[in-house]
Symmetry: C2
């Protein structure tokens, strides 16, 4: 194989090192698949003195121009993370005629349109499989394999940190604080876990997935986002009793009310394919009007799974370079659909509350729900907490606005001490044939 395709790499942290490792260790597999040898010629780093692995033939530089101005570099892999200067470097690289492969969900979620416009103007590819769900192929399946479908629903477990935490809470009956500490010790959660536990990381991925699934740009501010910090072992135990498991879900739906995108914890029926996704694994459930229900499962983060997606994108681009073809993968957001505001979305709800332990309270509560048009599928009195009684109610499907109204009303009832938690229930609808 005489043909060599030169690659520039921006950033050499965990994933960057993983990319160098994969290209080196699997070279014998990859070269015939491409029809050319992939060679990382330059790596942009901040610290030139640091010793690096799998990088014998690589030139390290702290000057982006060494990569931008090298006409032999056809593909630039961006693994700097964060918005800046990642966005600017990618734009400059595309303007210099280089194809981009990135794992940067921030830039894709926030500046996706800019990226694609620049790619199109310069006839290069902009690839980002690694930005959502790490090693799991999901961007290509949505853009290429499920194109016969009108996608109606994409529901994912796309944040490994929170899924690890919820799995531990569920299986080991541990508290939120204990599992967070454990996740931090194991390296699954960062010192500041906000982006994960508040759902922000999942929200970015949801924006990306929804944009592709519905052929419509979905910006981050459209994603209604709620994290898992308020989930207690008690909620998990009650959910289990009722046949559910609690997961942080990324939800993107489209129906006649518009596009509905949100991230929040939800009670998921134990027989739902996503309910089996444990620990740091991710999975994305896709419903199409032709294929029915499908699911894509694997590791959503980590050095090698993420490198797997990055290198696959590089190979995809390189195969086209070998054949002198450019700009195959285009932006697919050509629709301008309406969005469904969160108040108009419908769901069943799990409501846990503490009430005075006295006759007639259940009735008063049911009446408060009823007054706001919320119908209950079950109300169960659970344990006593000090002098109060704990009640768990599950509602039928109802508009979000009504459940908020019901909360207000309940809060005013003298017999209600506290609404401990309100969590959505993700029902398994029957799919249409």
């Amino acid at each position: 194989m005489n043909n060599i395709i030169k690659v520039g790499l921006l950033g050499c942290g965990t994933v960057g090192t993983g990319v160098l490792k994969v290209l080196s260790q699997n070279m014998d597999e990859i070269t015939p698949r491409v029809g050319a040898k992939l060679v990382v010629s330059h790596v942009l780093v901040r610290n030139l003195d640091k010793k690096r692995e799998y990088a014998d033939a690589v030139k390290f530089t702290d000057n982006i121009n060494d990569i931008l101005e090298d006409p032999e570099i056809k593909i630039v892999i961006e693994l700097l993370g964060g918005l800046h200067p990642a966005r600017e470097y990618m734009i400059q690289a595309m303007q210099a005629g280089k194809n981009i492969v990135t794992a940067n969900k921030d830039v894709v979620a926030q500046f996706g349109k800019d990226m694609f416009d620049t790619a199109e103007a310069n006839n290069v590819d902009f690839m980002f499989e690694a930005s959502v769900a790490g090693g799991i192929p999901i961007i290509t399946p949505l853009k290429q394999c499920l194109t016969a479908n009108k996608i109606t629903e994409v529901i994912g477990i796309v944040n490994g940190t929170t899924n690890y935490m919820l799995t531990k809470m569920s299986e080991e009956n541990a508290s939120y604080d204990a599992v967070l500490k454990d996740a931090q010790e194991k390296g699954y959660a960062e010192a500041d876990p906000t982006a994960d536990v508040e759902g922000l990381d999942a929200a970015r991925k949801t924006a990306i997935l929804a944009s592709i699934a519905f052929n419509n740009r979905v910006s981050l501010n459209k994603v209604s986002t709620e994290g898992i910090t308020h989930i207690t072992p008690q909620d998990i135990a009650y959910a289990k009793e009722l046949g559910y498991t609690i997961k942080l879900l990324s939800i993107a739906r489209e129906d006649e009310k518009g596009i509905d995108v949100r991230v929040h914890p939800a009670l998921l029926p134990q027989n739902h394919p996503l309910a089996f996704v444990r620990n740091e694994f991710n999975a994305i459930f896709v419903r199409g009007n032709v294929v029915g229900d499908t699911m894509f499962y694997g590791k959503g983060a980590g050095q090698l799974p993420t490198a797997s997606a990055v290198v696959a994108d590089v190979i995809d681009v390189a195969r086209d370079i070998v054949k002198n073809r450019y700009g195959r993968i285009r932006c697919t957001c050509y629709e301008h659909k309406k969005f469904c505001p969160i108040e108009k979305t419908t769901s069943s709800y799990y409501v846990r509350l503490l009430v005075d332990d006295q006759p007639g309270v259940l009735g008063a509560i049911a009446m408060a729900f009823g007054e706001t048009g919320v119908s209950l599928s079950s109300v169960i009195q659970k344990r006593k907490v000090n002098k109060a009684a704990e009640i768990v109610a599950i509602t039928h499907k109802v508009e979000e606005a009504k459940i908020r109204k019901a909360e207000e009303l309940l809060n005013k009832l003298p017999a209600v001490d506290k609404i401990c938690n309100v969590i959505r229930v993700q029902d398994t609808d029957e799919q249409e044939g």
Copy 2:
């Protein structure tokens, strides 16, 4: 959209009608994705008098030349099924410069090389996503999304009929004969169920998956094949007690002993991702040396799921036609690896036998296993059957040749009435990091 791409369809049975339905009902979704309008101009059928749905503007013909000789037809969808004349028609169509999309696992498994050679010689595409696992994207993920990996294992539930039957046997404690009848009544099993229940259908899909995963042609006769006809509710019940569920698995592995391809029922740990795949659903578990474990799940058969895969392939080809690009997807079988004969494969085994109910029998049996080098992880005496005692033994991992030897020896023991069943146990190995 002025651009029109004409498509010829061979066969208008269940899936063919599904393809017409999808192209008609989802046209508003599909046209902008392609950048052109897909129009099925001709359909080859045997019976011209039959009334057809979704086919107002279609010309029906019983003459293949109407399609082969129409220069405007750029894509031919083959849904005739069976080897002949499907193979010949596809070759002729490619020679006439037409791209092929097929769901025909028989032709792909048996004449894959011919097909690809012809495609390459004529600079056209040969696409076959629908030939394995219906609507589940698996060919594209293997050929495109997981290319950074050396694939070490592909394990699938790729036959919906048998998975439906085993699920019913497991969940409803029903007999093989009863669930077969039920499956036939529901249309999941054919009047002659041989191809499904004897594993032949799964074997074809295994040959195709292995060929792609290992970049090495795997012909059908390399796939060691065993069906589910000998599985009893008793085996399923014992498996469940031991923490396993019985599934018909398609297994393709590669290690230093070579490529190992087989179809057989196996005891699968209940926490394996494939164990949750119920009824007519399919799933394919792929292990790569970079990505780790991934899984692809969905409906493996049926009119619309299969049409989803067929139409996605058509869209893929059509997108290239729009850009004047031809022959993107090539044969990827360029290796010539050795195969591991079934006798050299290793597995744990579940062995159920009836023995004389007398002291010392367990010891004699353990000794017979021991003499052939088979070490047992557990031997449990179960219920009495008439005067005999039923024993269930689970072995440690051992070469297939040794378990066959042990069977011979056990059969000669006077105390052994009968070896009721020997079923492999698919252990969940720890994956390498």
